[in-house]
């Protein structure tokens, strides 16, 4: 029997344990690290970071959030889908958008109040780590045109199961009509 090595994920979570006093519990940070790991190595997201404080109010966020840049567009609003079809624009030609990710565990419970507080604490677009990456080649982003952000605030609900499976759901703030996949 050799020495049992912790898994790569466990080692990663241990290594990314935050130092100092943070407004959220440490297990939520471990969860955030696990989701970040999953996004980075399973879904090829880039420019990932963990947010602990609200971007526009002094209050800390309810839970640590992850933000990052997916390799392709995660969410396409149904109206935009129609316009893209009309103008025969391929989905890969539309630049991807930075997304908010909320790490949760399957056994958690959430309430309307928590969702409302969380949405009130974030901007529609997550702030990028380095400003350079934000300067994408500008697609014709007239308001309401293809490539412009639509549908109000949204975040990806990342839920970790006991077997380390992570599932991602889009949660919109307000009434946003569903996509026609």
């Amino acid at each position: 029997m050799g020495d049992l090595q912790p898994s790569a994920l466990t080692a990663y979570i241990e290594a990314s344990r935050p130092v100092g006093v943070l407004p959220q519990d440490s297990h939520h940070h471990a969860l955030a690290a696990q989701v970040l790991h999953n996004l980075q190595y399973q879904h090829d997201w880039t420019d990932l970071r963990i947010h602990t404080d609200s971007s526009h109010s002094a209050r800390p966020l309810l839970k640590p959030l992850v933000s990052g840049l997916p390799p392709h567009r995660i969410y396409v609003h149904p109206d935009e889908q129609i316009e893209m079809l009309k103008q025969s624009v391929q989905e890969k030609d539309v630049p991807s958008e930075r997304e908010w990710v909320l790490p949760t565990h399957l056994r958690e419970t959430w309430s309307l109040r928590k969702f409302a507080e969380l949405f009130d604490g974030i901007d529609p677009v997550p702030p990028a780590e380095n400003q350079a990456s934000e300067e994408k080649p500008p697609f014709p982003t007239a308001k309401g045109g293809i490539g412009s952000r639509r549908g109000g605030k949204r975040l990806m609900l990342a839920t970790v199961g006991d077997d380390s499976t992570v599932v991602y759901y889009v949660v919109h703030d307000g009434i946003v009509k569903p996509r026609q996949n």
Partner: protein, 318 residues
């Protein structure tokens, strides 16, 4: 409102009949009210009347229409309707002045007799037509038979027809039993004084229902999708539903598994899982009251009214 609309509008407030005191159900019996509500107030209800001859029927229901408690509450709150006690109304109606009842019965009998006469006449005409045709066909080749042709031919048909045909249509015709499809000529509309208290609705689901209704959505019961309301952006005859809505209290603990299950179910049927409820303490959310996310003007909100926040869940596809 066009002239036609105003003609079809029921007398307001119209009665919603509550049957049973234990399991309360809210029924509408008047088709004009039903169509008017659907066209001008986005109220769908559910038709529950089936044909007595097909007890297994589960599609194409007819009157009466059952309203969801939320729908009934909304109509009463808007002052369009009141809740009438079906049991008491029925008892009163049955005890209505005997003369009116007698008149009604006489009219019904007259109608039934007229129907019976018309049917008998029709039968006779048909018989004569057939007889004539037979006469023409058999009469031409054999001229001798023409004299007694009438007798054997008529005997083919049963004698009762012969008897009635020999006599003019008379009172001996047995009147058909008539089943009136409507009962309202003799039954008076119940008075508003006898109105019952508002239906019992859960505060969270009613807040969500009212919010979506005010935005112009149509709601039908969501049992088949495991939610409270299926939310349609227009009349369900023209649109598929957009959302599966679930009302929650502001601080109600929602299992993440329920959100995921709902999101997955909704995405599977091209809908969004919508959760929502009334905002509890308003100090945090004043900003949202001022600028509602949907641009709906907040003017005309009564102080007792609440602000509702909603969230939509969809599968992300990754």
């Amino acid at each position: 409102m066009t002239v036609q609309d105003s003609l079809l509008a029921p007398d307001l407030p119209f009665p919603i009949f509550q049957i049973s005191q234990t399991v309360r159900r809210y029924l509408l019996y008047d088709i004009n009210t039903v169509t008017w509500l659907r066209r001008t107030h986005n109220i769908l209800g559910v038709f529950i009347g089936s044909l007595p001859q097909s007890p297994q029927q589960n599609v194409f229901f007819g009157l009466p229409m059952e309203l969801q408690p939320e729908e009934a509450t909304l109509l009463v709150e808007k002052g369009l309707a009141f809740i009438a006690d079906d049991f008491r109304t029925h008892k009163q109606a049955v005890r209505s002045p005997p003369r009116a009842m007698a008149n009604y019965k006489a009219t019904a009998r007259k109608e039934a007799l007229a129907t019976a006469k018309a049917v008998t006449k029709q039968k006779q005409l048909k018989t004569q037509e057939v007889l004539q045709r037979l006469n023409v066909r058999q009469g031409t080749p054999d001229a001798d038979n023409t004299v007694d042709n009438d007798e054997p031919d008529e005997s083919i048909f049963d004698t009762s027809t012969q008897e009635t045909s020999s006599r003019p249509v008379s009172s001996s015709v047995i009147p058909y039993s008539s089943t009136p499809t409507t009962s309202y000529p003799p039954i008076p509309t119940p008075s508003k004084q006898s109105s019952l208290p508002l239906p019992e609705v859960s505060a969270s689901s009613y807040a969500l229902f009212k919010h979506l209704h005010a935005l112009g959505y149509f709601m039908s019961p969501g049992l088949r999708f495991g939610c409270q309301f299926s939310v349609y952006p227009g009349d369900p005859l023209r649109f598929h539903s957009h959302f599966l809505a679930m009302g929650h209290d502001w601080d109600e603990e929602i299992d993440i598994l329920d959100l995921i299950g709902g999101g997955r179910l909704g995405t599977g049927v091209k809908k969004g899982w919508l959760i929502g409820g009334a905002v509890k303490n308003s100090d945090d959310n004043e900003k949202h009251v001022a600028t509602s996310e949907d641009g709906q003007s907040e003017i005309g909100r009564k102080p007792g009214d609440f602000h509702v926040r909603t969230f939509c869940v969809e599968w992300s596809g990754m």
